[in-house]
Symmetry: C2
Amino acid sequence: MSKCEQCIIRQFNALRALQKDDLIRLSGCKTTHTIKKGEIIFEEGDNVNGVYCIKDGVCKLSKLSANGKDQIVKLVVRGDLLGQRSLISDEAANLSAVAINDMQVCFIPKHEIIHDLTHNINFSVDMLKDMAEELKLADKVIVDMAQKSVKQRLAETLLYLQTNFGEDDNGFLNIVLTRDDYANIVGTATESAIRILSQFKKEGLISTEGKQIKIENSKALKLIE
Amino acid sequence: MSKCEQCIIRQFNALRALQKDDLIRLSGCKTTHTIKKGEIIFEEGDNVNGVYCIKDGVCKLSKLSANGKDQIVKLVVRGDLLGQRSLISDEAANLSAVAINDMQVCFIPKHEIIHDLTHNINFSVDMLKDMAEELKLADKVIVDMAQKSVKQRLAETLLYLQTNFGEDDNGFLNIVLTRDDYANIVGTATESAIRILSQFKKEGLISTEGKQIKIENSKALKLIE
DNA sequence: AAAAAAATATGATATTTATCAGTTTTTAGT
DNA sequence: ACTAAAAACTGATAAATATCATATTTTTTT
């Protein structure tokens, strides 16, 4: 089993603030898990009882709305923590987490995190900084949802995926989402998302091969209105 | 000048975690301000250099979108802190803050807050809890924006104002917003907000007298779809 | 490899929301 | 109290988006 002291992933989140002895303690109580694509990590209302540190893979954080549609609020990726919001508020999960592809995660029990939060001020301040960044991003999403068209949001989502996940040797986005996921990220009907992607394809902005998407003209995508 | 040690407002925010000697120190460096309705407290891009503790009044936190419309992200009220997000991230303001009615605020310089954040773990954890709560609310707004109709959002906004600001002796909401503000909260065109309010009036769900709004049938408002 | 299921795609149409243009009412300033 | 400006309102129309129906393609299961 890998050791927290030697894990480089922690540099990407608040765990970077921990010292060697803390990390050794974490190593002793953490559990490592493989999560298959499509598996539910936790659902709204679940007691999470700890924090996941994402070593590899991606999951979607979503919330079920009254009309039965899932809204994806955030993609959680390698290096991110998962579950810290609920842990800090000491509440059941507010969002559901579902794996988008195969994942490797470490689970750190709640009491260990609480211990560090209440004894290591660097850790709590770093956690606070991470949370402040998340809040800023959430505010941006609110404004985009309220003021931009579905087409603009879908174009931005594609560009976001390009910059954050990169492209493979053939130029396809390094993350594969269903059309339904795209719809649930931009907040529209699945048919609408499909239609707009088809339109982008016709206009030569993207090309597709099954679920895979290649961005052909990112400049034009940025100019969509 | 009033003293932080005796101020009850701090019970509503993270400042509750501070001890008497910290509060006396704050009292010595804080400044008290009266802000008139419509005045700008800070704008996107400004360096805020501290945190405002709202003693009275309400302000809107908004962001200008590309199409020139302001999106109101949050109403900041008595007891709330203002400016802490930017301070923690050590960035210029991400949102603008404008007074919706006359306000009384205390301004606490940045270095004092930083001092407490890095020396008082109860304070940083409390700040973290407040921020986690804000993030949860922001996530809810994202889902509402994405999945609910303008009419639903406007109905919910009215109910939110009723529960959070209450009503005066005549039954009018204890907060007065312009139709433009309503539009900027729900993320729609001003005319659309006006039109829906008119419709609510015709249906007997609300009544109005100038800018003042009275909720006549909250049960029916909850059932809007 | 065949069958079943799921996902993608497209057309037709309905509904929602934005935009433009103009009127009336309210508010603020002198 | 009068005037100018701002805000609220309404109608007509255009544009965006959702919904329903159905066909096709892709993926999964047997």
